[in-house]
Symmetry: none
Subunit: 415 residues, 2 copies
């Protein structure tokens, strides 16, 4: 089926904001054997009308993102109703829930906000759990006047669109798409190996299995290996992947590495502390994004300044003077002292040079020491080199630190 | 002039790769008073032909990215030549430089590679300093057969496209575009006010000014107000915005609130520590994303567990027992002790209930106390209520904490 995405929003075309919807939607519909055949990005305003009019005749499933909010430039709902010749009526339930939402947030009611409760006749409401504007679904050819595709109007903010898509859009798509039951999609999340190294390890062998489609999705320090096909063929492909990538696979259930860690620690009733210099709070932030983190995460020490390393985590000043703050010795001291001071089972520590300044010939920008300390085993320190921009460096260092911890947890599970 | 970008590449539609071209090109052409009016993302193959045929009649400047390489799915050059009825001829100079390039890299020559030296009659070559495929420029209506826009074929990899754009495309655009340097874009970044409240405060008044375009872009706790138009009209609009939004505006130069804070602190030679319970490292992480943060950021204390608040920041156990960890009293103790313990000029602290569990009737999920402590003035604590999903809650609390600090810094600047 011809799937088309229309992203609306002048801000997208000004280049100030990266669109996240294409990537999200493409990944979500992939297991249904659907691919996006075209994406258009359009400004708020009349261009939306022209494009929809054209696409109504060509697309079979059409996702339109943005333009459902309360402000004057939000006109998607009204434009679609007009194109399809559907009257808008105010939905009492939506209106009440909007009022409730605003009261709970102590936000003043304005008449513009009420527009978000307008629903074109015959459209199905897709509840928005994280925002005020609901999504809308129009079955194909909803109006006798116009031929039209299955049409989904979705909110612009990713944190609103994404849960709505999973909860309300996918179930509708499953009814629309003539599903071949036997087709499956499996995803192996891999840490610490680049895409080309993975391709070299598994590419030829997997492509030799008939009717298995292989794809990759890479993020800093992280690659999703995706196979699509019939279950029996995927079993063969999965065996190849497991043999080749082994412990580098950290999840087959779509979890992040920090979710995997929180789960492993919870299962063992163990706890974690982190001591961060160069990752600057990223480890703590990612761990505390996981619901239930408070069960296992005790404390984070972001010792950014040298003096903070000395004051907060009792790192010996002489150690810093002798080896430098970015050194194995200081990394070890940070991890061991964080663990002892917090009373946690484990601690991980990072110290490195994020850039853009601060590098030397001896320790260039991108150098980082990562240490794992445990109440039950010896301390392990590793040196990595991640020359890149500041934020990517932090992501790569965090990923390496989490991976060091994860491997130790798994090893002691199995040992 | 109607500017359209066509991004070609199946990998873009699979969602595995984020397109970087729209953002780059939009920013580069903005000073020429050019704005992208539409962007299409298309798979390799016949869809490109259909789209180009349609867009030749509508666009005035058309950028096509990708599909210039040596592999079978690279067909942009040939498709355009065919559509415009221009013969391809092999350019001897390009061919020689391609051979030289491959020899230097010890890559075997194949006939496919030679295709990249084919140039449609009348097209201008845009040299590629970082790759093998050159770009091509076709002046408007180059062929007597077809009406066509100013057409630029550009390579897919950003590291090839970007230098080519700056060196070869911009000079051509400057000749094409009748330059008016009067159109401007101004962005006011606003914290702590929702989109609809802002719209209510300024919408009618701004729209009453002729030829000013108004737009919004909302993130958690944060809204960009964007006005476009001639300088004199923007001065009027800007005055309205400043009067209505006042100190809620934290940047007019596109900086984030954490960048604004690092800059304010640097200018004053002052330092910051953060004590985080519910934001779990997000404050520290965002501050340390700013290059130069090490000048002003001393330490972050992520005291997630109650015991960590007692052990690390010396919060009185009785205070926690009496008021609860989520309370004004504990929030004050966290901020004041973090400031004293780190020796920083200022500290901000957060303690709240992120959810999804842990709320009570008295302190529902979303409750958060935020405190500002200073070496020079009294401590200020505030209570907020941000009922939402866990990550949005953290973002909203972080934004409120940064805003409290920012307002105090500005006030003491002015006082």
């Amino acid at each position: 089926m011809r799937v088309v995405i229309v992203n609306t929003g002048t801000e997208l075309l000004l280049g100030d904001i990266q669109d996240a919807h294409l990537s999200f939607i493409a990944h979500e519909i992939f297991p249904l054997d659907l691919r996006v055949e075209e994406r258009r990005t359009l400004p708020d305003g009349s261009a939306i009308r022209d494009a929809l009019e054209e696409l109504f005749g060509r697309a079979e499933i059409l996702f339109v993102t943005g333009g459902l909010g309360p402000t004057t430039d939000d006109i998607t709902r009204e434009t679609v109703a007009d194109l399809l010749g559907l009257e808008l009526h105010q939905n009492a339930e939506l209106l009440a829930s909007l009022r409730q939402r605003l009261e709970a947030r102590r936000i003043k009611w304005t008449s513009r906000i009420g527009r978000q409760a307008n629903v074109p006749m015959g459209a199905q409401i897709l509840p928005n759990e994280n925002g005020s504007a609901p999504g809308l679904y129009f079955p194909a050819n909803i109006s006798p006047r116009v031929s039209s595709p299955h049409l989904f109007l979705l909110p612009g903010p990713p944190r609103e669109l994404q849960p709505m898509f999973r909860r309300s859009v996918l179930p509708i798509l499953r009814l629309i798409v003539p599903l071949s039951d036997s087709l499956e999609c499996r995803i192996y999340r891999v840490v610490g190996m680049g895409e080309s190294l993975i391709e070299e390890a598994i590419g030829q062998k997997i492509l030799a299995i008939p009717k298995v489609e292989l794809g990759y999705c890479a993020r800093p320090g992280d690659v999703d290996v995706r196979i699509l096909g019939e279950a029996s063929a995927l079993d063969r492909a999965g065996a190849i992947i497991r043999t080749a990538l082994g412990a580098s696979i950290y999840s087959t259930t779509g979890h992040t590495i920090e979710e995997t860690i929180v789960k492993l620690l919870s299962a063992r009733n163990e706890t974690l502390a982190v001591a961060e210099s160069c990752t600057g709070g990223l480890l703590a932030n990612r761990i505390t994004n996981v619901p239930g983190a408070s069960e296992v995460f005790v404390a984070g020490y972001v010792c950014y300044a040298n003096q903070a390393k000395i004051d907060i985590l009792d790192v010996d000043r002489k150690l810093i003077e002798k080896h430098g703050a970015v050194s194995e010795a200081v990394s070890r001291a940070l991890a061991e002292n964080a663990r002892r001071s917090s009373g946690s089972t484990y601690a991980i520590a990072t110290t490195g040079i994020a850039g853009p300044t601060g590098g030397s010939a001896d320790k260039p920008i991108g150098t980082v020491y990562i240490t794992f300390a445990s109440a039950n085993s010896e301390t392990i320190a590793k040196k990595f080199f991640f020359p890149s921009d500041r934020e990517t460096f932090k992501e790569l260092a965090a990923q390496a630190a989490f991976d060091l911890l994860r491997r130790k947890l798994i090893a002691s599970f199995c040992g």
